[in-house]
């Protein structure tokens, strides 16, 4: 079997359907498991009480918002350099999910900030850059929507995504750059996490669930994009008749 054949929309289309189902099922299982750990197993925080439990949603969403931007830019760049249609379609499919994750991170963060910091919104570096990330997603989708020729839309938005990539590391390292209200990262790759094990497990399981969900939703969306853009190609009608 030639692995590369799946870079063609025609072969990817049926594969995406199978994969989407698998990832949806995984997402459901992991969400139930993660929420169970989060609400029943993980202990109450000694300082923040119960309100810390929002991290089981907030932190995975914040992670995903940044990761999706990177993945989206990666596929956009591949589409720009290698001139492959499917890569650009993937980038296009990822953007709404990324924007949703950014929104969830901001929203849950506001709910958590009110009882713990005493303010719904604080203009510190990390919150601000997350907000800018939301604006970047919106700009990306707006540019895409307003260019009618899909190939030009692919390439123009790829350039925009790459320009915006500079912003994602700013978000991640802003905690170290600016000495602000937002706490330092609780999980880091260099030192052991300063969290109880069950809290960490819950958070990681939820993060995995968010990964699965994002992949599944993007696959469904990429199928719709393929349907829209390849509507004139003969194979789509054939496969629709078959499946």
């Amino acid at each position: 079997m030639n692995f590369w054949q799946y870079s063609s929309p025609q072969y990817f289309y049926p594969l995406a359907k199978k994969m989407a189902i698998i990832f949806f099922v995984l997402a459901c299982i992991l969400t139930v498991w993660g929420l169970y750990i989060g609400f029943f197993v993980a202990p109450t925080d000694f300082q923040q009480g119960e309100s810390y439990r929002i991290i089981f949603i907030h932190v995975p969403a914040a992670w995903m918002s940044m990761i999706i931007y990177l993945v989206m830019s990666f596929w956009a760049a591949i589409g720009l350099i290698m001139n492959t249609r499917l890569s650009s379609m993937l980038a296009q499919a990822l953007a709404p999910t990324g924007a949703l994750m950014t929104f969830i991170a901001l929203w849950t963060g506001a709910f958590w900030g009110r009882p713990t910091w005493g303010a719904w919104w604080v203009w510190d570096a990390r919150l601000t850059s997350e907000l800018i990330l939301l604006f970047l997603y919106i700009g990306y989708m707006a540019l895409r929507a307003s260019i009618e020729d899909p190939r030009r839309a692919d390439r123009a938005s790829a350039i925009l995504a790459l320009v915006g990539v500079v912003n994602v590391p700013i978000i991640y390292f802003s905690v170290k750059w600016w000495n602000t209200l937002h706490q330092g990262a609780s999980v880091s790759f260099t030192k052991s996490p300063s969290m109880a094990t069950s809290m960490l497990t819950g958070m990681l399981v939820m993060a995995l669930a968010f990964w699965m969900y994002s992949i599944a939703v993007s696959l469904v969306r990429v199928r719709r994009i393929i349907r829209d853009r390849e509507a004139n190609a003969g194979w789509l009608n054939e496969s629709r008749g078959a499946s």
Binding site: P43, T44, D45, F46, Q47, Q48, G49, S51, Y52, I55, P115, T116, W117, G118, A119, V122, D124, W177, W178, N179, T180, L181, Q183, G184, A185, S186, S194, M195, A196, M199
Partner: protein
Amino acid sequence: MKPRYKRLILVVVALALLTLGATFVLKAFRSNLVFFYTPTEVLAGQVPDGQAFRIGGMVQEGSVGRKEDGVTVRFEVTDTIENVPVQFIGILPDLFQEGKGVVAQGRINAEGIFLADQVLAKHDENYMPPEAAEALERARKIKMDKQ
């Protein structure tokens, strides 16, 4: 001039600019972008005159008290060297505790009391269950007793 040389010159110029940019970024990292002042800095007069600013530190143990009107809170912010009295009217955030971090925004009056418009709790990076926190606390006490 051949197109190849032109491109080479442009690449060299761009790389030189990027290197220069990187050095400025490094320089920016090393300089201190201040978010709040410590009580020591406040008492040493390093704060802007007549301007609103932020003061940060720990809430001094045993310093929190309310006035007779029931809404005015007074406490002292300390960096373990100096203390600054703070007065605040309003609801304190849940995480506000004696001995914990706090950031207050406002201005200092003629008597040297900091009149806060907003009080923000600054929590640390540790999430742990109460038992673990107690264990840590006990360990610290034992260590101090030994000394």
